[in-house]
């Protein structure tokens, strides 16, 4: 069992940290529940490696606590934490057979040989390594080696969480999806908490049930891949998830909604009321390129944009347009007609998001089916 609780956790590399920018990890309270498949996703420099090292025990946090099933482990070294780690590069003994590699952690713990045999075979079976057990590890391909690294973590029955640090970096692109599938199956079979650290949205979204997106030392959203796409909780998530990311436009409040330059975007009354209560001038609207509606014919109710250029990506096109002084991108399916010169668009209410101080603002009464 392992629930990992990061309690009032913060970390600064400097001894006399005072202001927020001194912190690589800003104060957070976060729980990785037992048995979950999670990802920690963010760009380089966001603090995800620092957080990973704090969880594994390579680094002791300057503030707050790391609790494993309620027990503080701040000062417990990595090898005593019942956590396994899988790194970018496979960590195996080249001079040993696959079997001996898998058996190594168990023999180290003086496990009776009978149990070693049965456990190694069980793990090898799950990872589809059985035919390779007698092979020397040095003769394996990169993906086989990485499976052995994973097996060495799984083989110890006292391991209750596995941390992955960009584990597919060295794997051939064609083989990556097979390993992703294996990881998911292993997770279902072994009921182990798994946290997968990556900067790659595909890796994170494919593996994880829930993703923690990190930005500037904070977790700005903890949600399912679908929530990150359909309902980004922070402007950064909108920008970072999706290619291209969300269109984000700075706006100011006006009668009946918000505006930029001469363009007015109407909002529902409840939202206007909500906005009126918030003092910040940092207001943005956001809509994904997939969700902007493009009209086939000119439409007087729609916004009229100038078409700047079209990127033909084969399966779809990205229209780059200008609405007033704002550039917008919209995704158009392959079969759709490409407008000439002017593009008539509208923003479906469901997909138009409002951000104040970078965080999503929503009208609470209208629960929109729990964002399923």
């Amino acid at each position: 069992m392992a629930e990992i609780h990061l309690k009032s956790l913060a970390h600064s590399y400097s001894k006399d940290a005072s202001k927020p920018s001194d912190y690589a990890i800003r104060e957070m309270d976060h729980v990785w529940e037992h048995g979950g498949a999670y990802a920690l996703l963010g760009p380089s420099g966001c603090g995800k490696s620092t957080l990973l090292n704090i969880m594994s025990g390579l680094l002791s946090p300057s503030d707050g606590k790391v609790l494993f099933d309620g027990v503080e482990v701040n000062d417990i070294p990595p090898e005593d934490r019942n956590i396994a780690q899988v790194f970018q590069f496979p960590v195996i003994y080249d001079s040993m057979t696959v079997f001996d590699n898998l058996a190594f952690p168990l023999r180290n713990m003086k496990t009776p040989e009978v149990q070693v045999q049965s456990r190694v075979h069980e793990i090898a079976e799950a990872l589809e390594l059985t035919p390779l057990l007698k092979k020397n590890a040095s003769n394996l391909t990169a993906d086989e080696k990485q499976k052995v690294s994973m097996g060495r973590g799984l083989v110890r029955s006292d391991v209750s969480a596995i941390l992955f640090d960009e584990p597919l970096t060295v794997i051939d692109p064609q083989l990556k999806w097979k390993l992703r599938r294996k990881l998911k199956q292993i997770h279902e079979q072994f009921n182990i908490t798994m946290v997968y650290v990556t900067h790659d949205q595909l890796e994170a979204s494919t593996f994880a049930e829930k993703i923690a997106v990190m930005y500037g030392g904070q977790i700005v959203q903890f949600g399912t891949p679908r929530e990150l796409f359909e309902r980004p909780n922070h402007a950064f998530v909108g920008y970072f998830i999706g290619s291209p990311g969300m269109n984000l436009v700075e706006v100011e409040r006006c009668n009946g909604g918000v505006k930029f330059s001469e363009t007015k975007v109407t909002l529902e009354p409840a939202m206007i009321e909500l906005l009126a209560k918030m003092p910040s001038k940092n207001v943005k609207i956001g809509i994904r390129p997939e969700f902007i509606h493009v009209w086939d014919e000119p439409n007087s109710d729609a916004f009229c944009c100038d078409l700047l250029h079209v990127e033909d990506l084969g399966t779809y096109k990205i229209l780059n347009m200008k609405l007033d002084d704002q550039e917008l991108k919209v995704r158009l399916d392959e079969d759709r007609k490409v407008p000439k010169g002017k593009v008539y668009i509208s923003f479906p209410e469901q997909w138009l998001k409002v951000y104040v101080d970078e965080y999503l603002v929503e009208v609470p009464a209208q629960q929109e089916g729990e964002n399923a």
Partner: protein, 368 residues
């Protein structure tokens, strides 16, 4: 920039063999002035070898290279007016960003006032003006690569070679730099050559794509045309991501059979093809979870895995005879092992003969 640069680059019957191993063979290409050329191929396809020969860093073992009609096969790299950007961020660590960018101009003994003007102009385009007085290692990876790109762009090179320049950057930065690069070359007359392993990057860059496979050119032309009308299976596989689905089948006088299990009647286009065994191709984005037309083929499959790119879902589905990948917009929830019905548009099939040559592409069928 670039009023003298109106030159073309012609590669004629190029071959490159080192110690009995063939790196390149029968390369015939003409790169037009002001064109943006993408070399698309897998690792070890010969992209870097070809670029090094274009640059003059290596000499071909056969064939000739002409720049603006002049044979330059034996002309050294220093005399070719070429810039190159590599995967690794290569900068002079002991020089400031400003001096890094200025270095090619200093070598060319450019006037100081001109150096200042050009460095500032190039730094502005690549958005690194705030860092001009810093040293490269104080910058992020993206900024370091911008610095090495600025150095390549600051001199008025006739040919600028990019060898997978964005591969070590994270994908958001790649998106941005790719768009900047494309815009940058709209204004220039230089020939740009850009090597990549990624079909989607090649499409995004536009221009002309040359497909390299095992040291040979298999197809070269306007990117969108090569994508829609690959000349053979290898070209179709190279230029699709996720890769095109391929299903072996038999075409009779009245119907198509996939793996002897699935049958559907011939439409007008398919009926023009002689009966026989073929490989049928369908792009992952053309298969749907709901039928689009009456003649779409319904297939009962099983979910293997869905890869989610963030904004798209790539579903891997299987049945007892073949597997398919389906590309869908948005994030789709699923469970491994779930039964699932998918719809394959029979009017969007690629048809390849047993030798792998293209017999029909769907764009041809559509335009007619």
């Amino acid at each position: 920039m670039g009023e003298y640069n109106n030159m073309s680059l012609v590669l004629e019957n190029l071959g490159y063999v080192v110690e009995g191993e063939t790196y390149l063979a029968d390369i015939n290409l003409k790169l037009e002035p002001g064109s943006f050329n993408v070399l698309l191929g897998r690792t070890l396809a010969g992209k870097t070898s070809l670029m090094r020969i274009m640059a003059g860093l290596d000499k071909p073992t056969s064939g000739n290279i002409y720049m603006d009609g002049q044979d330059v096969t034996n002309v050294s790299v220093q005399k070719r007016n070429i810039s190159m950007v590599y995967q690794q961020f290569i900068n002079y660590p002991n020089l400031t960003v400003r001096e890094n960018i200025a270095s090619p101009l200093r070598i060319a003994k450019t006037k100081e006032s001109e150096i200042i003007r050009r460095v500032n102009e190039t730094a502005a385009i690549l958005q690194i003006e705030p860092f001009l007085d810093r040293h490269p290692l104080e910058l992020s990876g993206g900024q370091q690569q911008r610095c090495s790109m600025a150095r390549a762009l600051v001199k008025d090179a006739s040919i600028i070679l990019f060898d997978e320049p964005l591969v070590n950057l994270d994908y958001k930065l790649r998106e941005e730099l790719r768009a900047e690069l494309r815009d940058l070359f709209k204004e220039r007359n230089a020939i740009a050559v850009y090597a990549t392993t990624e079909p989607n990057e090649a499409m995004a860059l536009g221009g002309v794509t040359t497909l390299l496979h095992e040291g040979r050119v298999i197809q070269s032309g306007v990117s969108t045309k090569v994508y829609r009308q690959p000349i053979n299976i290898e070209a179709a596989k190279l230029y699709s991501e996720p890769a095109i689905n391929l299903i072996p089948g038999r075409l009779s006088n009245s119907e198509v059979t996939f793996d002897e299990t699935v049958h559907f009647p011939l439409d007008h286009e398919l009926s023009k093809i002689p009966a026989g065994d073929y490989v049928f191709g369908v792009l992952p984005s053309h298969i749907g979870l709901v039928p689009n037309r009456d003649d779409d083929l319904e297939l009962s499959m099983r979910m293997e895995l869905a890869e989610i790119s963030g904004s798209e879902t790539y579903m891997h589905v299987v049945n007892d005879h073949f597997n398919l990948v389906i590309q869908l917009s948005g994030v789709i929830n699923y469970h491994i092992g779930d039964p699932i019905k998918v719809y394959l548009p029979t009017h969007k099939l690629f048809v390849f003969d047993q030798a792998g040559n293209t017999i029909q592409t769907p764009s041809q069928a559509i335009t007619r």
